[in-house]
Symmetry: C2
Subunit: 319 residues, 2 copies
């Protein structure tokens, strides 16, 4: 199969990373990372998370971060929220490019732990969000299914369960007047393998051929880049990722490495395959190293340590 | 394309790792790692390296390691050598399952630095090895091309150069009476991407359809598992790998992470795709953590930290 010509990278390193890191990270350091990401050619940065600071203390300063970050022309800055209150906080900043997102968790066992909701409660919350988006003039552009490939609490997640979540969300999106929202499939607990990716992406494409698909991958078990390859082979053109491989869900019952797929490693894969991303890989590698300074420890991404091949090719050509 | 039903993992963690690690590692610790690997179901372990101890001090104790390691029934224990003298040292141990291997480096620029030989000298050395194998009754079973996907000194390595190396080696192997030796393609400096893998493996399969192919991958730039997936999709059934992602070539001009593809992450990929390896993944994860104790620092493999999915599936089923 032919790869897509270009892919759209949604950087989530700040949001994912600072929800997950244990130690205190100063607001100014968070802002420095976001500002550095703004200079790499990335067009979408999920900068902050408006979640309950009692449960996720790393994002107690979300408003302060948004107030201080430098907005660069042409870059979309978004935030994450899981409920109405979070959306209202995001809206109140007045400095974010809010994207109306509706989401459900395919595993009810995980939803109970991560967001303390039953499926019915989760649907009601999404409906409330949908109304709030309409009131605020925020269009619905993305529907997301979390735990779409498996769950540490429930085990395998049947594809039918995922498809049902997508169907509910797309019905809601249609009600809100959204034409063809992005369908995001999140491997929240790193259960996916490349065959799963092809099966589920294929099923979603068959059912909703007009909607673009996004993959949100975690590298907890080392397969994220292979899963991304499988996604590219299926024509997926939107990927969430995190600089240096920051992040992880704090409620996913994981020991050890739990980060998202690393943005610069993914960008490297794309560029080597001839797929455009608009990202300056050398500059992004520098930001990967900055991310390590900000969190105060090594992060799992490889490219930031090894460097890409562009410099090697230049040297070899000059030799 | 259908995956292979089973793959053959050639564990090279001890050999790769101890040539690469900076600090002194006691012989007894090296032996402990090899002995632990012997209990995982792995059938091939490249335990030691017979290289010049002035250039690779980490393997000055190769003979002592071989003398002390416990040989387990059904496991093949091999060693690496790059010249006649190394082969004679391996032979003299009397405790290894010697495999006659002939190798060339596709990049002459890299060969000059790694083994200080021109192509002609390298061919002469392989011819001398071939004669020594014959004299010792060691059959030729593998021909290897190093730097088959690119080189930090020369840049892109043309496929024609790799094919020419394979042709020279197969002619030599035929002269030595080898029927269909394994053709090993090594991405010594981590230049490969999945498209390269498919192109080169495809070209080699087209030219020599009867010979099995092995891939030797490095994860320096984070693509090893995606490259392995591409190999599996091409029907490759033999992979070199290193427990916990140990290793790297000491002369490959790399900063930072330079290890081989991680055995347990590769085994996890295979098992999740329904491909048999004969390896006990949970036990191998423990050996991955032992490897970290032995070298005294974190190693890049993911599965050893996160655990596989078998335990998660059991827990979920019991819940």
């Amino acid at each position: 199969m032919a790869w897509p010509k270009s892919v759209d990278i949604r950087e989530e390193g700040p949001r994912e990373g600072f929800q997950f890191e244990k130690g205190h990270i100063p607001t100014v350091a968070k802002v420095a990372l976001i500002d550095a990401l703004s200079e790499t050619g990335l067009r979408h940065i999920q900068a902050v998370s408006f979640v309950n600071p009692k449960r996720v203390p790393g994002w107690a300063d979300a408003e302060a971060v948004v107030a201080a970050m430098r907005r660069k022309e042409g870059v979309h800055y978004t935030g994450l929220w899981l409920n109405l209150r979070g959306f209202q906080r995001a809206l109140a900043t007045g400095r974010l490019d809010l994207e109306g997102s509706l989401g459900l968790t395919a595993s009810e066992a995980f939803a109970a732990r991560n967001i303390q909701r039953t499926r019915a409660e989760d649907i009601a919350e999404q409906r409330a969000l949908m109304q709030a988006y309409a009131a605020a003039g925020v269009p619905v552009t993305r529907v997301s299914v979390m735990a779409a490939f498996g769950c540490n609490y429930m085990g395998e997640v049947p594809a039918a369960e995922v498809m049902e979540c997508v169907r509910i969300l797309l019905d809601m999106a249609a009600e809100a007047g959204a034409a063809r929202p992005l369908i995001s499939l999140a491997d929240t607990m790193a259960w996916a393998n490349p065959a799963d990716i092809k099966r589920l992406v294929g099923a979603v494409q068959d059912a909703w051929p007009e909607n673009p698909i996004a993959l949100h991958l975690h590298d907890t078990r080392g397969l994220a880049i292979a899963d991304a390859l499988a996604g590219l082979e299926m024509g997926v053109r939107v990927f969430d990722s995190a600089v240096a491989g920051l992040g992880g869900c704090p409620f996913a019952k994981h020991a050890g490495a739990a980060g998202n797929i690393c943005t610069e490693d993914l960008v490297f894969l794309c560029h080597e395959l001839g797929i455009e991303t608009g990202v300056d890989l050398e500059r992004l590698g520098e930001v990967g190293r900055l991310a390590e300074e900000v969190v105060g420890h090594k992060l799992p991404g490889k490219l930031k340590d090894a460097g890409g091949l562009a410099a090697m090719r230049r040297q070899a050509a000059a030799a």
